[in-house]
């Protein structure tokens, strides 16, 4: 699909040195991170020739490869998985609960969910980044790929590697949700459980990457990997009718996604695909692991690392590698960052499910809970177009809901039994409602 090799390269984020294209994420000159930069003049030339346009994009298959010109893909790359192009839809019933009833109608028209809980093939936005990273892994000649992961990335690397016939080594904190471990092993990947938190796993992987010729998607392939996140931003703009929203609420772990959605919007503006407008970026974290939101709220430009203690394990990164850039993105946009407690995460998972029929994992609970805070703080207004990024699927973190729902007793298959059961159940609901009304909750 893409013939754009040579139109992108690695460049140091701080000193500007070019590094061509190779499996590398650090500048040897200044030890700073590398990022993919594009030859936008070449892309403009293809726009002028009519081979890349909004209309051309619309004619392409509904997946993230429709934006191939703005991704670092090897020459002649042929996608083998229809990743991305997940639904974006209005969330009026959630909006009513988040914004309050007085502005419910307005908020309902303006609140959207970007639902990567149904991203293929492994039900999280990590499929996007892995798809790009493994395209390059193959081009660089790796036969083994690897990652450190809080779960979703593990699933994605394992599945994509299976599809491409690559060997996979996955390093995870040992306390990961069982469904995420199983959802990695099932693809035949080698899973290494580390007795430590994600930050320790990540540090170990940096060391292993120095010793072995493996393609670590979030170490030596990280600049390519991270570009895959931009497709969330491209899709939001296209699905809104080629316009940018006023606000985006994004869950933050390492802090990369929020910066890449901004990069995507900037690129669309630069190429004339959307009109320029201010977009506020809002970051969401769990209070038990909130190094980025703490920095934003205290006005710091730097991260003070934390020891994670939250059920939102997919966001449990206490020393976020892109934290500095996430802070910058949020502050420069006029946005903000908030964090929510674990009970609020569970309440928010339930709220999203009960209002919009979307079952998200803990990270999604963090995003929804944070959005509620932002509405209450008037940082997000009902009349503003706001997109909540739901990045993962609730079926992977059902363990956090253990004990929330009682197992229903079985009844005999008789109509009379059901009528009796219904009467009792309705009575129970009435009693519960009265109790709530009495205490004035």
């Amino acid at each position: 699909m893409s013939n754009y090799e040579g139109h992108y390269e690695l460049r140091c984020r701080e000193c500007g040195r070019s590094w061509g294209n190779q499996p590398r994420s650090i500048c040897d000159e200044c030890f700073s991170p590398l990022e993919i930069t594009y030859d936008y003049d070449a892309i403009r030339a293809s726009i002028a020739q009519g081979t890349f346009s909004r209309e051309r994009i619309a004619q392409r298959p509904p997946n993230m490869w429709r934006y191939a010109e703005l991704l670092p893909l090897p020459a002649g790359f042929k996608p083998r998985l229809p990743v991305g192009f997940t639904p974006l839809f209005q969330a009026p019933r959630l909006a009513e609960r988040l914004a309050g009833t007085s502005d419910a109608k307005t908020a309902g028209q303006n609140l959207y969910l970007k639902n990567d809980a149904v991203c293929l093939p492994t039900l999280s936005f990590k499929d996007r980044v892995v798809a790009v990273a493994l395209a390059q892994a193959q081009a660089f000649g790796f036969d083994t790929v690897a990652c450190s992961s809080t779960g979703n990335l593990a699933n994605a690397v394992a599945a994509h590697a299976a599809r491409l016939g690559l060997k996979a080594w996955i390093f995870i904190p040992s306390d990961l949700e069982p469904a995420k471990i199983l959802g990695t092993q099932v693809f035949g990947a080698n899973v290494v459980r580390i007795a430590g938190n994600y930050d320790q796993v990540n540090r170990l992987c940096s060391q292993i990457a120095e010793e072995r010729r493996w393609g670590f998607v979030n170490v030596n392939l990280r600049p390519y990997y991270a570009e895959g996140s931009k497709t969330v931003g491209f899709e939001i703009a296209e699905q809104l009718g080629w316009r940018l929203p006023d606000n985006v609420v994004v869950p933050m772990a390492g802090g990369s996604l929020i910066t890449k959605i901004k990069k995507a919007f900037d690129e669309l503006v630069k190429l004339g695909f959307v009109e320029e407008k201010p977009v506020k970026f809002f970051g969401a974290q769990a209070t038990g692991c909130s190094p980025i939101s703490t920095a934003v709220k205290t006005g710091s430009a730097e991260i003070d690392p934390q020891k994670p203690a939250t059920i939102a394990r997919s966001l449990a990164i206490g020393n976020p590698a892109d934290g500095h850039y996430a802070i910058k993105t949020i502050k420069h946009s006029g946005g903000w960052s908030e964090d929510v407690s674990d009970p609020q995460v569970i309440d928010s998972i339930r709220l999203l499910a009960e209002t919009e029929g979307v079952f998200t994992e803990t990270a999604g609970g963090v995003t929804v809970g944070t959005a509620g805070k932002l509405y209450r703080q008037d940082r997000i207004l009902p009349e503003e177009t706001t997109v909540l990024c739901i990045t993962g699927n609730g079926l992977k973190t059902t363990d956090v809901l253990a004990g929330v729902y009682e197992a229903e007793r079985a009844i005999a298959p008789k109509l009379a039994e059901f009528e009796k059961y219904l009467e009792e159940t309705l009575d129970t609901i009435e009693v519960a409602k009265e109790a709530v009304a009495t205490v004035g909750v």
Partner: protein
């Protein structure tokens, strides 16, 4: 007393390929002084112009981030293994 310091590949061209050294530094400040003396070219890669540890450099002592141990105030003990590890960030324009 001796501690060992592991130097990542990305920095070894400033250490003539040396990947590990042993020294008697008792804290981070002393460790930097030892490294400055042994490998003068390495100095600007570890600290910025104001003497602060560079943003993208993480320092671990026996697998623990030194910032959780008190940072510059931490006193090394015999046998400590110090790791200099680059922080892998993607960056953003």
């Amino acid at each position: 007393m001796a501690i060992t310091v592991q130097i990542p590949t990305a920095l070894r061209r400033h250490t003539a390929g040396v990947g590990s050294i042993a020294c008697a530094a008792t804290n981070l400040g002393e460790l930097f002084s030892v490294l400055d003396e042994k490998f003068p070219d390495l100095k600007p890669h570890l600290r910025d112009e104001t003497g602060q540890v560079r943003r993208f450099l993480n320092i671990y002592v026996n697998e623990e981030d030194i910032r959780f141990l008190g940072g510059p105030a931490y006193i090394f003990t015999d046998g400590d293994e110090v790791l200099l590890v680059p922080s892998i960030a993607g960056g953003a324009s």
